[in-house]
């Protein structure tokens, strides 16, 4: 049960956040603190969320994406995502997030898109 929910990968000015299988309130608890630390210590212009492992997301995941979007938009940065499955796509579209956080099929596209 002791799973580390998020794996962070820094690539130049891009921070890639590999998301867990279940993106709910429980698993999101540590994300704000951890990303705030990383954003304070590194010059980041883009956050890329990797959904390839994620099978379930609820409004807690939307909160995480929206707050990162607001953080990055404040400094002219971008937030993108890739690898979203059908359940995640539905949640994103019901939440109306598709315009704010563009979704790509591949990691390569999300890094430059």
């Amino acid at each position: 049960m002791l799973e580390v929910p998020f794996i962070y990968e820094a690539k130049g000015q891009v921070l890639i956040i590999h998301l867990p299988k279940e993106l709910d309130h429980h698993n999101c608890r540590s994300l704000k603190y951890e990303t705030d630390l990383l954003l304070a210590e590194n010059y980041i212009t883009r956050i890329v969320f990797d959904f390839t492992r994620t099978e379930f997301m609820d409004s807690s995941g939307i909160g995480v994406l929206l707050n990162r979007y607001k953080q990055m938009a404040g400094s002219g940065g971008q937030v993108t995502l890739y690898g979203a499955g059908p359940q995640v796509h539905r949640i994103l579209s019901v939440a109306g997030l598709a315009k704010l956080v563009p979704s790509y099929e591949t990691k390569e596209a999300a890094l430059v898109g």
């Binding site: 309130h25 379930f56 609820d58 807690s60 939307i62 909160g63 607001k70 059908p86 539905r90 939440a95």
Partner: protein
């Protein structure tokens, strides 16, 4: 009619447990994967509300009941926490009482989007009960 009851501690780690239990229970209706995801999302939202808002992350019990009648699943998520003083405001899309900015305020909107019917009964100081219905053709 078939029914199940679950009483569990108000812990964030139980959010996944609750939605999986209800998903397994509803599987006897032969739902589509999308219908299962809808119910899992709605249950997750209601239980998360109970943990964060109802009990303010303090200890408490959450009571879940699920009933299948004909082709309709009814799920009830109940807490005996603080209740909701202004229910109209709480149910507005994007409204959140959380100051951190990490909460989207879309919990009730998601329940309404993914279930056919959502009813909320609440009493300040007594608790909140959310009753949700979904028809599954099977």
């Amino acid at each position: 009619m078939e029914a199940m009851k679950l009483e569990m501690d108000s812990l964030s780690s139980n959010e996944e447990f609750a939605r999986v239990v209800v998903a397994v229970f509803m599987s006897r209706l032969n739902p589509t994967l999308e219908e299962i995801d809808d119910v899992k999302t709605a249950v997750s939202e209601a239980v998360t509300n109970a943990v964060i808002h109802g009990y303010q992350n303090k200890p408490g019990k959450i009571y879940i009941e699920a009933v299948i009648e004909e082709h309709t699943l009814t799920v009830t998520v109940e807490d005996r926490g603080v209740g909701i003083a202004n229910l109209k405001q709480a149910m507005e899309p994007m409204y959140t009482s959380d100051p951190s900015g990490e909460r989207s305020g879309m919990g009730f909107s998601f329940m309404e989007a993914f279930m056919d019917q959502v009813q909320v009964e609440t009493q300040p100081g007594k608790g909140t009960r959310v009753t949700m219905k979904k028809r599954v053709a099977g």
